[in-house]
């Protein structure tokens, strides 16, 4: 099929189509919208993307994505320095920040241990986590890995490795979500919630 527009626009469609949530059709619609609003949308977007491409870096301390290294969270003096929250991915860090649930600092692992995908401890940032936890500042490490088999296997592995550092290791609770009705919960969550019940 011959292309409907010039190679520059086709390339833009092709690239946008690779983004999560966008397929070729929705990318074409997005590009059409951008081109129609060239001055108010396309040009500012191009500038913003060029800026982000130039400045975005991975924080060498925690693994967060920011425009400076160390990132804003790592250098923020108002952050609780004694508490370190370990997450699988930057998306998890952003979710916790959105909820305002953690006032300390973070450590992004960059994934989980996975036998299937051949991801071992050396592929994650566990070494730098141990270094950070061995410092004098950290008192508590909160393991906020996902409640999946791989996530919890990683959490147990890290717990073992942190045993020698003397820091207190905690993990997120598993159970009934806020607003969750028992009737609609999956069996695994219900069983985990029942197992982790606590006195009131």
């Amino acid at each position: 099929m011959s292309s409907l527009s010039g190679p520059e626009i086709e390339r833009l469609i092709q690239l946008l189509g690779k983004l999560p949530g966008l397929g070729p059709r929705s990318a074409r619609r997005a590009v059409l919208h951008l081109v129609k609003k060239k001055q108010t949308l396309l040009e500012p977007l191009a500038v913003a993307m060029a800026d982000a491409a130039e400045k975005a870096v991975i924080c060498t301390t925690c693994g967060n994505v920011d425009t400076q290294d160390p990132c804003m969270i790592c250098i923020d003096p108002r952050r609780e320095p004694k508490s370190l929250c370990v997450v699988e991915d930057v998306g998890d860090l952003w979710a916790l920040e959105r909820a305002g649930a953690h006032k300390g600092r973070y450590h992004v692992l960059g994934g989980t241990l996975s036998a299937l995908d051949g991801i071992g401890p050396e592929d994650l940032t566990i070494g730098s986590l141990l270094e950070r936890a061995s410092g004098d500042e950290i008192v508590e490490v909160i393991l906020a890995t996902n409640a999946t088999v791989d996530g919890q296997t990683t959490a147990h592995y890290i717990t073992d490795r942190l045993a020698t550092t003397g820091v207190s290791v905690t993990r997120l609770a598993h159970g009934v979500p806020v607003g969750g009705e028992l009737d609609y919960l999956d069996d695994g969550t219900l069983a985990a919630a029942m197992k982790s019940r606590r006195p009131v």
Partner: protein, 249 residues
């Protein structure tokens, strides 16, 4: 093509943004993969955790296609075992070892043994020995069974305490002593189908024994080495045994 079967989730690999390629160990169709549409959704993620028993319907136009699975949860084990590092290591190790089975080959007896193993994972004093027996069963099922009934050298059926790494046959104390360093120790709980308590060192001997033959016959030729999950399981069992010994002192 369509069939319906019961199976256990072995692994899940995301496919695109919303789907997942799920590998099951099924009762009648063996290790079988298929695409689960919506497998990455919030509703399906808890279902598609390794170790969960599911009811699966597989559909494809031709038998050798990957096909699509429609999956309903049968028994959720992953959520229950997640808290206990040892049980979780056992679950991951068991799922990893089963991945040595050839695809789409029926192994109903082994499937039943797998279910027994998964169901005992909460009983910490029992399952490590069951795990070793399961691995022996896996070797047997695939044609690499060990002969632990009589001594390969003398034919004696008692005092069997070694296994030859070459032949996989038991060796008695008397015949094996000169070659002790080259032989594997045969833990008592594996002799003659007896159900005896397995001490941590017996389990370690058993895992060493089955590990050698699994690597030699099943994993070595295809994957090069045993799965990492199995190595982590051995580490964890050994740490647990050390902690128990220290606690007793």
């Amino acid at each position: 093509m369509e069939w319906r079967d019961e199976g256990v989730v072995l692994s899940v690999k995301s496919h695109g943004e919303t789907s997942a390629i799920v590998e099951l160990f099924t009762s009648e169709h063996g290790r079988h993969a298929g695409l689960v549409r919506g497998g990455a959704s919030r509703r399906m993620k808890p279902v598609l955790q390794p170790g969960n028993t599911v009811s699966a319907t597989w559909r494809a136009r031709l038998p050798d296609h990957l096909g699509n699975f429609t999956i309903d949860l049968g028994r959720a084990r992953a959520g229950i075992l997640m808290d206990d590092p040892l049980s979780l290591a056992g679950l991951s190790g068991a799922c990893a070892v089963v991945s040595a089975l050839p695809e789409r080959e029926r192994h109903t007896a082994l499937y039943e043994a797998f279910i027994v193993l998964l169901d005992t994972l909460e009983e910490v004093d029992v399952w490590p020995a069951v795990f070793v027996r399961f691995e022996l069963g896996l070797l047997q099922e695939l044609g690499f069974g060990l002969d632990l009934t009589k001594c390969a050298a003398t034919g004696k059926t008692d005092d069997l305490i070694y296994v030859s790494p070459k032949t996989g046959r038991a060796v008695s104390r008397e015949a094996g002593e000169p070659y002790e360093k080259r032989l594997y120790r045969l833990p008592p709980f594996l002799v003659g189908g007896r159900v005896t308590a397995a001490e941590p060192e017996d389990v370690a001997d058993g895992l060493r024994l089955t590990g050698h033959f699994l690597e030699r016959y099943l994993f070595g030729p295809f994957h090069g080495r045993l799965p990492d999950a199995r190595y982590r399981l051995i580490d964890r069992l050994s740490n647990a045994a050390n902690a128990k010994t220290l606690g007793a002192q």
